[in-house]
């Protein structure tokens, strides 16, 4: 085929059969990025949008100005949550394969995102996650049984079986109902933050969306409104390099996602998403800014989607196998664990023990959850719930339809 001049269409950097190669990522070293004052003029730190905040270096040491200097107990807590999330994900996936869940989505390789960022916040800070941050619930101590009841869509599912699994809602934990249409939560989070400011409250709102989703209009609304009203919000693009089969080359030119905040005069930071300490630190910084009335911060969380997009997906059709193993920024859980071991605060044996403990917990919780029903045999949310919550009170036409259904 002669190469006629025609429309340019980007390529993914590698496809099945190719050897994954991450050389041109040009990663800065850990500790290199500067840490500005929270009242910095955003125009002075544009470089941070093209750099990468890293704290944990290759030797598992915490280095540089962004080192949050966390107590070992906090690090251990983080490790525990991340370990739990990984085990939980694995179990749920297994159960999905057995037909006990209609659907599932894992966070493998991205566990640090929700957990480090969640831990850097106050419990009254409000969360608008995408489906890829279930870990927030562990941080805030949600009952595993409740989470599983939602995932297996039984009678105790607090969203009454109306959404697919992993579309959590948890009012008590200030986690706002997750929606399937991607990105819609981003500008809602900004509105929520505007309301906190309106009321003179100092809690912060935080939201996440993916690299692919950053192409939606909602992304633009969010960043723009956040800037105009100096909303106390933290806006995160979780760049895990893929949107289902579509590589991030289709959602940004060669620029970084972080650089999108520059155009709205927001402090814009790119952070290693597999580095618990860097994430914690950047998020604390952003939260402090927001709380002090300095407005919004825009963060690109740089990470890698290690597994399939969801249980409906088969990534071997569009990318090399085990590609994640070559990701130069490693495994967030391993890195935190090794850091703790390096500090003399943890050991492989302790980790094994922890894993066993948490696996037992998940299994126990799963069994407990099944007491409230299963996806296939019920009991599910009762039939009357079909017509509830459409409005606060069912209007006449819904009451009539309910009767038609004979309930």
């Amino acid at each position: 085929m002669s190469k006629k001049k025609t429309l340019h269409v980007p390529d993914a950097p590698f496809r099945p059969g190719d050897k994954p190669n991450f050389k041109d990522l040009n990663l800065p070293k850990a500790g290199e990025a500067e840490k500005p004052d929270i009242s910095v003029d955003p125009s002075e730190i544009r470089d941070l949008a093209f750099s990468l905040v890293r704290v944990l270096d290759d030797k598992h040491k915490a280095v540089g100005p962004w080192n949050p200097k966390l107590k070992p107990s906090v690090l251990k807590e983080g490790l525990r949550h991340m370990t739990l999330l990984r085990i939980f994900d694995d179990r749920m996936l297994t159960m999905q394969r057995q037909g006990k869940l209609s659907f599932y989505m894992k966070s493998l390789g991205e566990e640090a995102v929700a957990i480090a960022q969640g831990m850097a916040l106050r419990p009254d800070d409000i969360l608008f996650p995408s489906y890829r941050q279930p870990g927030l619930q562990f941080v805030r101590g949600r009952d595993l049984v409740d989470m599983i009841c939602h995932c297996i869509t039984n009678s105790k599912d607090n969203v009454k079986g109306r959404q697919m699994p992993v579309h959590y809602s948890w009012k008590e934990g200030n986690l706002v109902s997750i929606s399937s249409p991607v990105g819609t939560q981003f500008p809602q989070a900004v509105g929520c933050a505007m309301a906190s400011a309106y009321k003179g409250e100092d809690n912060v709102t935080i939201s996440w969306l993916g690299d692919g989703t950053a192409a939606e209009g909602d992304f633009h609304y969010a960043v723009n409104f956040a800037s105009v009203y100096k909303a106390p919000v933290i806006l995160n693009v979780v760049n895990n390099q893929w949107a289902i089969s579509t590589h991030k080359n289709f959602s940004s030119g060669d620029a970084t996602f972080a650089s999108r905040g520059i155009a709205y005069d927001l402090p814009s930071i790119r952070v290693d998403g597999n580095d618990f300490l860097a994430l914690y630190s950047v998020t604390s910084w952003a939260a402090e800014r927001a709380r002090k009335g300095e407005g919004a911060t825009f963060i690109e969380v740089f990470t890698y989607r290690a597994e399939a997009h969801s249980t409906s997906d088969d990534p071997t059709r569009y990318r090399p196998k085990d590609e994640w193993k070559s990701w130069p920024l490693g495994d967030p859980l391993e890195r935190l664990k090794n850091h703790l071991i390096d500090l003399g605060e943890w050991s492989k044996t302790e980790q094994k023990k922890l894993e066993k403990e948490l696996d037992d917990l998940v299994i126990k919780s799963y069994k407990e959850a099944e007491k409230h029903g299963t996806l296939n045999d019920g009991p599910w949310a009762s039939e009357e719930t079909l017509f509830e919550d459409v409005y606060k009170k069912p209007p006449r036409h819904l009451r009539k339809q309910r009767q038609e259904l004979g309930i």
Binding site: K171, Q188, H220, Y221, F225, V228, V390, Y391
Partner: protein, 337 residues
């Protein structure tokens, strides 16, 4: 009692509710300092402060989505979409988010957002300043849909809409802002000055959503309509000598089927009138429901008088806008059939 036009009655409703509930805030394009391109929010920013009544970026999607977030976090936002022709960039946030939030979260979250937006034709606005998109929203469970036809109802319904914990799309027929309009564009413009429904109490009052009003009692045929067409239909009845019962629906969702059924069962005949295009317009739904519940009372086919299934034209506006003649013709047909 003071006489108000619809702009003033909207303003009065907003004024009262801003005073009454510190959680109410109002925002949208040009609504703040300027007071809105139709001046519905005139003076409110000066009175209540910049954070209560403010301008937004030119972004309907941003307006509705941030309003949802505010609603989730305890405010009661009233968002203005400058023309209902421009509500579509917010369609996803309205239909997939605002409408479904309470349901999908099992009742944990909801957002008591009111979206005010001027709609309808008759102002030479052509293609993109004349649309009546209400049917789209009536097909979206979770939303309430309201369209008043006079200053008195506007104020009472708007207060109810804002106080309602469900989201409400509140359509304001812009052709009626300054005066009633019976469809005859060659007549001198009327004012609300002397109209009984132009009398609007200064104080708080509310009209429940979901109750139709009988605009004109009659026995020969029931005319179901709303917004500007209420006036066209009433005048058509008056001038034609057909004793039509004109029902002003006021609220499309929830719909007052009791009033509708009682009327059609009495008259045995029904005409439906709206400005929006015919196919899948709200008139289709009304017709379906009426024949479902009044089939054995109907003595003639229900007839719809609507905008044509075309976009809204500019120079041929009056060929598009359902005229008194077309309404009369329909009433005659139905009565004589």
């Amino acid at each position: 009692m003071p006489q108000m036009n619809i702009i003033q009655s909207v303003n009065s409703a907003l004024d009262i509710i801003l005073e009454k509930d510190s959680k109410v805030c109002i925002f949208g394009e040009d609504v703040g300092y300027f007071g809105g391109v139709f001046r519905c929010t005139d003076g409110l920013q000066a009175k209540y402060g910049k954070h209560r009544v403010f301008d937004s970026p030119l972004s309907e999607g941003g307006i509705v989505s941030t309003a949802i977030g505010m609603g989730i976090n305890g405010l009661r936002p009233v968002a203005e979409i400058q023309f209902s022709d421009y509500i579509f960039p917010a369609f996803d946030q309205l239909t997939n988010e605002l409408a479904k939030l309470r349901y999908r979260s099992g009742g944990e979250y909801w957002a008591p957002v009111t979206v005010r937006t001027p709609c309808g034709g008759g102002i030479r606005g052509g293609h993109y300043h004349s649309q009546s998109p209400e049917a789209y929203f009536t097909h979206t469970p979770g939303l309430k849909v309201v369209m008043p036809s006079n200053p008195y109802d506007t104020k009472g319904l708007l207060i109810s809409a804002i106080e309602d914990d469900d989201p409400v799309i509140f359509f304001e027929p812009k052709r009626l802002y300054n005066g009633p309009f019976d469809g005859d564009h060659k007549k001198a413009a009327l004012k609300w000055d002397t109209h009984p429904k132009g009398e609007v109490p200064e104080d708080y009052y509310s009209i429940p959503l979901g109750e139709a009003a009988i605009e004109r009692a009659g026995s020969q045929v029931t005319v179901l309509t709303y917004g500007t067409m209420v006036h066209v239909a009433r005048e058509a009845a008056d001038s034609s000598g057909i004793d039509a019962e004109v029902i002003d629906l006021r609220s499309l969702v929830p719909l007052d089927m009791d009033t509708i059924e009682a009327s059609v069962q009495k008259t045995g005949r029904c005409v439906i009138v709206h400005e929006a295009p015919k196919t899948s317009g709200f008139g289709g739904e009304l017709s379906a429901q009426v024949q479902e519940s009044c089939f054995y009372h109907l003595e003639a086919p229900i007839v719809r008088v609507t905008g044509w299934d075309t976009p809204f034209p500019h120079s041929l506006e009056w060929h598009y806008f359902p005229s008194q003649e077309r309404v009369i013709e329909a009433m005659k047909k139905v009565v004589e059939d």
